[in-house]
Amino acid sequence: MAETPSGVLRVDARAAGQRLVNQWLANIHTAPARGQPVAYIFVMGNAIEILRSFGFEMVFPEINSLQTGVRKAAPDFLAKAEDYGFSPDVCSYVKADVGLMLSNMEHPSGTHMPTPDLAIASSLCNVYIKWAEIWERRFGTPAFVLDIPGKRFESWRPLPGTPQYEADKRWVEGQLRDLIARCEDITGKKFDPDRLAEVETHVNEMVRLWTEILQLNQHRPAPYNSMLDGLTYIGVLNAWRGTPEGVEYMRLLRDEVADKIARGEGRVPNERFRLIFSGTPCYVNMRRLVELFESHGGVFAASDYLTYAAGGLDSSGLFYDPSRPLESLAEVTTLASQLGLSNHFFSHHTLARQVKEYAADGIVYHGIKSCRTVATSMADNREYVTSRYGLPTLYIESDLIDPRYWSDAQIKNRVDAFFEVLEQRSLLDGGQ
């Protein structure tokens, strides 16, 4: 916390978050020396709660890869992977990770990434599984594929007690039991349900706080930009999910956001337009992308990225029941995937609803060249939303971390034109 000249205590979640990230990387770096087992996991679908109960150190290769973009090391890593033989069309996160493997696991953050004792790939993104197969070949670590059945269609709403829900939950629970057996083999420890319950209690609190933080941005002006500040938040909460430190950080964060609202401080000083963002960031041009919008007074009040890239932490208001830790883990994992995490394919109504909830003026779709999970039917989604809801939408594209797909002039042109549309609309609306 830092004092302002007026003597009012100001919350500084950013500093706390940075410390936590640094600590996490340091822990990863020293894990092998300390004899701590290491798990490679993905943001969407990972049973991190079980892994914490067994004392694994978590490595998120997705975060490693996005960091190569942020730290401008991506071109080198991507080139190494492509020289090795990977097609240019393969997911750039995968290629960056291959580049890391070909760079002796020396990550640009200064961390030496350890090899995994356990690798979990969920079916929420099929590329996760292909990625885990690469680790199998490289490290000899067998992949644990966690199959999480998602939504079958847009209006799929699983209700506890129904055959569909019970079947899916039973399947997830069965796999979690298999995972527990695997963890016992690897660590030599017995599964501790109390420890799992403890971890879940922390996650519950984080879910509560994250849901609140997401909702606070409905305020006008929006206290944070979901596609810039939001990115820092999820880095911390993913890495520290289920820990007291993670809870503490989120409390700080919530207080900081609430504080900004109390002071009437918006992320964008002269907020003119509020927008919903669908897609991933362009990590190699993270700030620039947001700046193009903020320079017109545009703020991203919400994004679907902060749902799925937060590991479904908003979970649509689902909480674990620590008195039945394993069963409720299966329940929440199943439900979270069906209500939020598998929504890429069916997000049209959700996005339109968010426009209402956040009093937004339009939706920005960011298509990613190497990510078919995000981009395959984005144009169709956009067409539906535009024609059915009459909402202004913008489509821009680049890549997660491959700078070759960022074309500043072209993107700026589209963004500028979009704001001209929004300005016109507000003039016309005002005139009515």
Binding site: S123, N126, A375
Partner: protein, 382 residues
């Protein structure tokens, strides 16, 4: 006699070609055709409902894409684009259902596209598992198949009995046996049956009721041993990469000009179950258990028991192939990832191979012919 055999075969193959290339749903089968996107689908359950399973295999290289470019991203495989086109241009307006399987992320999106544009076809994902190694997997697949059953029961307005499914199992088991017989000929006597011919014979089944397909295959298998065959000396190769998006026929012809394709994964979904589904006991359980226990392999199905590289070596050995053609559809992430891994293994095992990238919509093959010819020559002069 030989002329008659040949002309009968030509007639059958011509019919198979017409069926294979047909995109529209005919009026008499409108609403009874249940479309499914690759790779595998438990057709028996659809068949038992009195409906016709309609495999969606893309638009080939004759379709003009006018609407789909506005809906499907640019770095996406052609089969997704052309399938969307077939939907948007009305060719598939006769479908009575649409299923996509979670083979890859693009395929899952097809369910989204269908849901927004053709909700009347009740599109959905059949959530086949990427984890087939858990003891709980058979039960899960069983439950998902039962869900499929109730969706179809609601559509047809009556129960799909176990007896009906048993009967369908019998027909499909026979169908798979007949397909295996074709592949045995391809492997043991490749001059007798070309891959293009076998391909058309198999693909025709996606447009026929299985009983009719069985008749057709039986007839072909009756004629084939009598066929006059010209002995040829061409290298024996394994072709992989045709598990989802289909290579154009001209591409297969180009390869067959200089090689025998003695085994392949073309339309592997049609023979995904590798031996008979048990015809006793709970038929849905038998189907589910077959998916887990007696199925083939592909880049889009994770299976800890079927290591990709080891499977490749086994296929090579069983087919007595001396080389491999490892193809991948453009923008196909699973195909491209495996292509590299398989190449590396072949390097290590010193097995000659050729890597190709293709698109279903290709129309010119000169460049590919040059690569394939050079490859075949190098094999002959080993």
């Amino acid at each position: 006699m030989a002329i008659e055999i040949e002309s009968s075969l030509i007639e059958i193959l011509a019919r198979c070609h017409e069926l294979s290339m047909r995109q529209e749903i005919t009026d008499d089968e409108a609403d009874n055709a249940i479309g499914y996107f690759p790779v595998y689908f438990p057709e028996e359950i659809v068949h038992a409902a009195g409906l016709r399973p309609h495999a969606l295999l893309g638009g080939g290289n004759r379709i003009e894409v006018r609407y789909a470019d506005a809906r499907i991203g640019s770095f996406v495989c052609s089969i997704c684009r052309s399938t969307a086109e077939l939907g948007l241009n009305g060719a598939l307006s006769g479908l009575g259902g649409f299923f996509a399987q979670p083979i890859c992320d693009a395929a899952k999106h097809m369910a989204g596209v269908w849901g927004r544009n053709f909700p009347q076809q009740n599109p959905q994902i059949l959530a086949l598992p990427q984890n087939v190694n858990s003891p709980a997997a058979v039960r899960y697949v069983y439950d998902e198949y039962q869900r499929l059953r109730s969706v179809l029961e609601e559509k047809v307005g009556h129960d799909i009995t176990d007896e009906a499914i048993h009967a369908s199992l019998g027909i499909y088991n026979e169908n798979r046996r007949l397909q295996r017989a074709l592949y045995t000929i391809k492997r043991d006597d490749p001059a007798r049956l070309s891959t293009v011919e076998a391909y058309l014979l198999v693909r025709a089944g996606t447009r026929l009721r299985r009983e009719r397909h069985n008749e057709l295959l039986r007839e072909a298998l009756r004629l084939l041993p009598e066929r006059r065959v010209r002995p040829m000396d061409k290298p024996r190769v394994l072709f992989l990469g045709g598990f989802c998006e289909q290579p154009p026929l001209e591409m297969l012809e180009t390869i067959e000009d200089v090689c025998f394709i003695v085994d392949d994964d073309l339309l592997i979904g049609q023979r995904w179950i590798t031996s008979d589904v048990p015809e006793d006991g709970d038929p849905v359980w038998a189907l589910a258990e077959s998916y887990i226990q007696r199925s083939a392999a592909s880049p889009v199905q994770y299976d800890a028991r079927k290591h990709k590289e080891d499977t490749l070596m086994t296929l090579l050995r069983e087919a007595r192939a001396e080389a491999a053609i490892i193809a991948a559809a453009k923008f196909c992430e699973p195909g491209l990832d495996d292509q590299l891994a398989l190449s590396r293994r072949l390097d290590a095992e010193k097995v000659p191979y050729l890597v190709l990238e293709f698109e279903e919509k290709m129309t010119s093959f000169e460049q590919m012919a040059m690569q394939v010819e050079t490859f075949a020559e190098s094999l002959l002069f080993e």
